[in-house]
Amino acid sequence: MSQGNKVLVDARGIACPGPITELVKAYRNAKNGDVIEVWATDAGFEPDIKAWIQRTGNQLLELRKEADKIVAVIKVTAKK
């Protein structure tokens, strides 16, 4: 299995649901095995990303709050 690519999506300063739009744009071009790291500042991003993971079946590797941003690290696994 080939090593996946890593993509950073910087959605800081974008209001809800902008971070999901930015994530989906990256997801559209991603392959299974790729890792997408999203940075966001909007508080609504946290519940939205959890729901997105649950609904799509991709894998949430990490979700952490830093002083100035929320970081979500996602592994793309559910694409057909």
């Binding site: 209001a15 999901i20 739009t21 989906v24 559209r28 729901a51 609904r55 799509t56 079946g57 694409k79």
Partner: protein, 397 residues
Amino acid sequence: MAGVKKRVVIVGGGAGGAILANRLSKDEFEVTVVDKQPYNWFWPWLLYIAFRGSRRPIKREIRSVLKPWVNFIQSGASVVNLQDRYVELENGKRLDYDYLVIATGATVDYSKVPGLEKTVELFGNYHSTEENAWKVWQTINSMKEGTLAIILAPGAYRCPPSPLEGVFLAEEFFRRRDLRDKVRIVFATFYPRPYPAEPMNELIEPLLKERGIEYITFYTLDQIDVEKRVAYSMEGEELKFDAAIVIPPHVGVSIKYVPDNILDNDGFVLADKFTNRVKGFDDAFVIGDASALPVAKTGVTAHLQAGVVARLLQGEDAKNTGRTNCPFDVGYGLGTFVISDYYNPTVKYPINKVNHLFKVAFAATYWDMILYPELWNPVFEAFFEATEPAKLRQFYR
């Protein structure tokens, strides 16, 4: 003291480009608008062609909505060179500028979704051309039973409320024809909820339920098999339909830019969110749908950004607030507005008939508003002030 006039080249004669051109002082500026085709389009009306069969004119000659002292050249721009400050036209002629404004709008890219081009050929859409909007009208008129799917494809798109406006108007159409119990309407979106901004969704989601409209969230459209009448999500989820109307992914208009690192992956122009200056340039601006800014692609954005850029060019201090004011038709003569800015989330602005009346009245003023800012600016300013999101939020939570 009258000096040499500054040359402003505006690429694009849509709402933003025309509004800006008419606001610049004729004593200070020599303004030239360039557009590859002769019309200024009132794009919101595609919705009413598609779902109401409206024959109201949707376009006017750009020349007729510009002040007489503004130059208009009908030509595509083959190169926009920000380093050497010129716009090269299709015939090779170069327009040198002191200030450049990119107002090229957005276009649709069917190639991002396999099967989408055929889907549009068959069922039409209401985000591209008059012809495709008429095709939607034919689609719904020929439908007597089955599933109508309205699908928001992943990516940028014009007018945030428009996908659901189509859904609501389709529902009204079939109910008025007494076909509502035979035609199932399904809305599929890649967002977490039917309307992406939560406060507005609190009004919209109950309305969808009340009208028996089905919806699927987190549905990231991957491809469409038109022959089998199935749309597939990226996770392989199947959505079967008899007719499908897709809001296609939008991209920037393809023009060669020098340097090309001012564009994002979808061809939108990177800019400062307060001044609309193109990334890295003091003398170039981008307004409206053409920008990569994370703001709504809608006429009101272009309108307000044009006002800010006009003031900046005239040496005033001005900055964008990120204000949106998108009319939202929910059918049966009812409407609301999506109102927010950089500092305030979307307001839960109540649905009523007066809001819809405002939308209809605005459509009637559109070209006059562009041509006579001296008459209409005070009206719009009063409206925007009365509906500032910071004020509205105190009333509508």
